[in-house]
Each structure stands twice: as structure tokens, then as C-alpha cells.
Amino acid sequence: MSAALQTEAEAPRHSIALEINAVSHQFELHGGRLPVLDAINLRLAPGEFVALLGPSGCGKSTLLRLVAGLEPPSAGEVLADGQRITGPDPSRILVFQDPTLFPWRTVRKNVAIGLEARGLLRTHQARIDNALALVRLERFADAYPHQLSGGMAQRAAIARALVNDPQLLLLDEPFGKLDSLTRLSMQNELLALWQKVGFTALMVTHDVEEALLLSDRVIVLSDRPARIVAEFVVDKPQPRRRDDPDLVQLRQTVLATLGPIRD
């Protein structure tokens, strides 16, 4: 009881502003250099939901890794609430395309990783139950990852992120490997969580419809090295309908911006 109250008092804010200033990045490859990001400028207001679209391999995931602090950018800077990002921090959590749950831990212990790593496990037990309840996995708390379906595993991964009360959630094609039905329900769940918790969200996807349904803004990136080529504001209140004529229209425009489909 007191722990729950304390939690509420500790984290009154659930979102941060993100600033990406002239960020360029390159990989060192076999002695050569491969530029992946070219002078990206992007600002996210607190609580905003922004989707990144772009051809595959264009560097979207790299941008998320830089924002998460897993790697420093080659040039430019990333600011969280005005503070330069120098390393990973539990306030900014990355959810990967693969759930990457630790197979040797139960769902509950997977969700607990963030608290355990920071020595908060004793005092914040209640948060684990809350996170599991948010993604409706209470009944599978003691299951091992190999016993979960793809959708359940991804929900567990999201719970593992939410338990840390992230102010910025970075999603790297989180539903890319799910079947289309599971994907639809997961999109709705993510939307509900975002509305309920109020974190800032930056999501990489290659599904235009998903981007238009969920986000406030859609950023379209070019082929590698990625530059921002277009930005669309999705000015529609939630809940949105997939067959909304405006969204269908917008979808055509976005697809045209993405360019001819090459495969």
C-alpha cells in the first residue's frame, strides 16, 4: 500500500521531450565507412506519438539505438528534456522486434529485470503486478517464455518496459513478426496504454496503416543514408477507423512519398 503510494509520488511525470539535433551516424565496416544517418533533425513534444517510416535497412533502428543511448552518434546530439543522452537509462526504454525475453526467467522475473538491475526489487514489487495486469498477463506470470505465443511474448516485453515507468518508449517494429490478427489487437492495446500512461513514443514501423492509426505524426525517411523526406501530421481524434476516407487518402500520399516499391 505505502509502496504503491510512494511510486505515485516518485513519478508524477510520465513523458519527456526529445530533441534530435543534426544527428549523423556511420558504421565502420571492413575498414570503410558506411553512412547510415544524415543530419536528422526531429523534435517530439512530451506525450507525443511519432512514427518513423522508411525503406528497410535505411537506418531507422540505428536512430532508435542512438536515442536509447546504446551507441553515441558520430555527429550531432540527442537531448532528453534538454539533457544530452550519453548512455542507456531506464527512463527511455527500447522494445525490440523480437521480444528477446530471457528464456531462463519466468514472465514475472523477466518483467522484474529493470527493477532488479537497479536494486529496486524489494520496494517496488507492486509495480510488477501492475505491469502484468496492464498487458493482461497476470495468469502467465510463472510461465517460461517458450510457453508463450508470439503476441503474449511481445506483451511481456512491453510489460518489462512499462514496469520502469518509462517517459519515452522506443518501439522498433514491435509487431513486425506477429500474425495480422494479433497485430491488430496489439495495436489497440498499445494505443490504450499510451492514452492511459501518457509516455512519449517513437515507433519504427514499415506498416503505413499502423503508423497512421497510432501516431500523431508520421516521419518518412529516405534510403540510406537516411534523411527526413516528409512529415505528415495525422490530425484525427482517437479512436480512428481504418477505413476513414481521410486516412485512406493520406495512406496513398505517404505510399507515394515512400517511392516506387523495389524488391
Binding site: 543511448g69 537509462d89 525490440f96 528477446t100 530471457f102 529485470i113 532488479e116 538491475a117
Partner: protein, 332 residues
């Protein structure tokens, strides 16, 4: 169909109905054991052996237990099913005892003294049990000191090699150079350098166990999926957490492969070390009794050794199951 057969069938059905289900293999095994007992007791020995009546009576007792089991086992539930599973083995055991008894003690077909009858082994246990117990104690002491120290050192060295690039730079070439050398090759030098034969034997057993554990732990830690580290780092994990809560559990299946290899290597080295320098121990017992052509004693010690080694292997399997409940199917 004749009346008589139908009659018989009817009687069989009514008997079964009266007694409930019978464990058929148990009854057959009982008969086989009784046969072995009869061969042992009734047919005269070509050459007299000690403990012949004792062996026969043990067989009779076994047959009696199996006969009771034939009725009781079907009513035992889970435990009963396990026993039923081994029914054919129990039958085979009775048959083997009868054949073994017949071809050695009773007919003398197999050349003496290389082939001892079953009562020959039994006689060793009856007469020499004190010395055998002593030897078991010595062997277990040497093995557990050597294996546990080797495995622990190997594990930590392996973690360091797999985790730290600098440690791997200096350590890996050494391990690759020393690793393939059979531990027994170090026997002369270790007996020369180390103060006691026990220390030398311990060192050899430890070396044989430590190297496979180190190599497999290192490769396990080094090959952990980097996504696991990324996840843990974004969740706020520092190096300590990354090593002990990510790298080590992820590498645990490899560590266990290393431990299983270490078991087999350490058994081999253990016996050699005992044969060379020790004053007691099962390896010493084997060498000593072979020298006196006391083959019954050799077989008796081999049986004990087989039981101990397979028991330890079984124990490691149980330990692995406890430590890694997430692994549905084992790697071995």
C-alpha cells in the same frame, strides 16, 4: 472351438476376476530368478566357490519378492508403473544369472580364472567389504576434491575468458595449447613436483575436469546473443548484472556440456592416477588384484565403479534439471 479350450478361457477369466490384475512380467521374472537359484543350488560346482548357497538364497529371496510384486505392483500407481517398465529387464536379469552360473561354476565352459561366476563376485563383497569400502571412500574423496576444484576454477576462468577481451588475449592461446594435451601426460611431472601423491592425483583430476569446463563456459559466454545485453542495458543493468544475470545463465547449457565432458575425463584420469601412485582407492584395487590374478575381485570393483560413475552422471542430470527448468529438451 472345443469345449475344453472355452472351459479354460472361462476359468482364466474368473481367476483373473478373483485376483484382479496380475503383473505378468513380474511372475515371469520370479520364475527366471527361481530357475537361476535352482541351477545354483542343484547342479554341483565344477570347482568349489565360496558363498554359493548365499547367492542361491539371495536369488530365491528375489524370486519371492518378485512373486509378491506380481500381485502388489499393479495396485501401486505411479511407482508401480516405473517397476512395470523395468519388467523385461528383471526377466533378463534372471535368465542372465542362470546362464552365467551355468557356463562358469557348473559347466566350466568359460576359461578360469578370467571368468568368475556370480557367487565369486558376491564372495568378494562378503569377505573383502571393509577394504572395498575404504577404497570407495578414498576414490570418492580424491574425485570430489579434484573434480570440484577443477570445475570451479574452470568455470571462473571460462567466464573471464568469454567476457573480457584482454583476458582472452592472454588466456585463450594458453588454453588452446594446454587444452588438447591429455591430462595423463602431466602424470610424471606432477608426481615429481607436487609434495604428495594425493595432491598430484588431485591436480590431475582437477586439470582434466577444469579444461573442458573452461573451454565450454568461455565459448558459451562469448556467444551470448547481443540483443540480451542491449535489453539489459536499456533496463539499467551494469556490468555485474550483465555478467552474472545475463551472460552466465545464457551460457549455462554450455557449462553443463562442459561439466558432462569433465565427468568422463575425470573418471578416466582418476583411475589412472590411482593405479600409479595411490595406496588405496578403486583404481589401486583393480591394479593390485589384477596383479594377483584375482579376477573376481576385479569384477566386483568394476561393478562398484560402474554404479558410482553412472550415479554421479545421474546426479548431474538431476542438478541440471533443477538449475535449468526452462530447458524442455536437454542438449545431451
Amino acid at each position: 472351438m472345443s469345449e475344453a479350450v472355452r472351459d479354460g478361457e472361462a476359468r482364466g477369466v474368473s481367476l483373473a476376476h478373483l485376483a484382479g490384475p496380475i503383473w505378468r512380467d513380474g511372475a515371469l521374472a520370479s520364475a527366471a530368478w527361481l530357475l537361476a537359484a535352482a541351477v545354483t543350488l542343484v547342479v554341483p560346482d565344477v570347482v568349489p566357490w565360496g558363498s554359493t548357497p548365499l547367492f542361491a538364497w539371495i536369488l530365491v529371496a528375489g524370486a519371492a519378492i518378485l512373486l509378491v510384486g506380481a500381485v502388489v505392483v499393479p495396485r501401486l500407481g505411479g511407482v508401480g508403473e516405473t517397476i512395470v517398465h523395468y519388467g523385461p529387464w528383471l526377466i533378463a536379469l534372471g535368465v542372465v544369472f542362470a546362464l552365467w552360473e551355468g557356463t562358469t561354476a557348473k559347466l566350466g565352459w568359460l576359461p578360469k580364472p578370467f571368468f568368475a561366476p556370480p557367487q565369486g563376485l558376491l564372495h568378494v563383497y562378503v569377505v573383502d567389504w571393509k577394504r572395498l569400502l575404504f577404497c570407495i571412500g578414498y576414490t570418492l574423496r580424491l574425485w570430489s576434491y579434484g573434480f570440484s576444484s577443477g570445475a570451479v576454477v574452470g568455470f571462473f576462468v571460462g567466464v573471464a575468458l568469454g567476457w573480457s577481451a584482454r583476458f582472452a588475449y592472454w588466456g585463450m592461446p594458453l588454453l588452446k595449447l594446454i587444452g588438447p594435451v591429455p591430462a595423463t601426460a602431466w602424470t610424471p611431472i606432477s608426481f615429481f613436483i607436487l609434495p604428495t601423491t594425493f595432491a598430484a592425483s588431485c591436480f590431475l583430476v582437477g586439470l582434466s575436469a577444469g579444461i573442458p569446463v573452461a573451454i565450454l563456459t568461455a565459448s558459451g559466454v562469448a556467444s551470448v546473443d547481443h540483443a540480451f545485453y542491449d535489453v539489459a542495458r536499456t533496463l539499467g543493468a551494469k556490468n555485474r548484472f550483465l555478467i552474472w544475470k545475463v551472460a552466465v545463465p545464457a551460457a549455462l547449457p554450455n557449462v553443463f556440456v562442459g561439466l558432462f565432458m569433465a565427468l568422463y575425463y575425470s573418471f578416466a584420469v582418476l583411475v589412472v592416477a590411482e593405479m600409479l601412485g595411490a595406496k588405496y582407492g578403486l583404481g589401486w584395487y583393480l591394479a593390485f588384484q589384477t596383479g594377483y590374478s584375482a579376477y573376481s575381485n576385479v569384477y566386483a570393483a568394476l561393478v562398484i565403479m560402474a554404479l558410482i560413475c553412472s550415479g554421479i552422471v545421474k546426479l548431474l542430470f538431476v542438478g541440471r534439471g533443477r538449475l535449468m527448468p526452462w530447458q524442455q529438451k536437454g542438449v545431451l
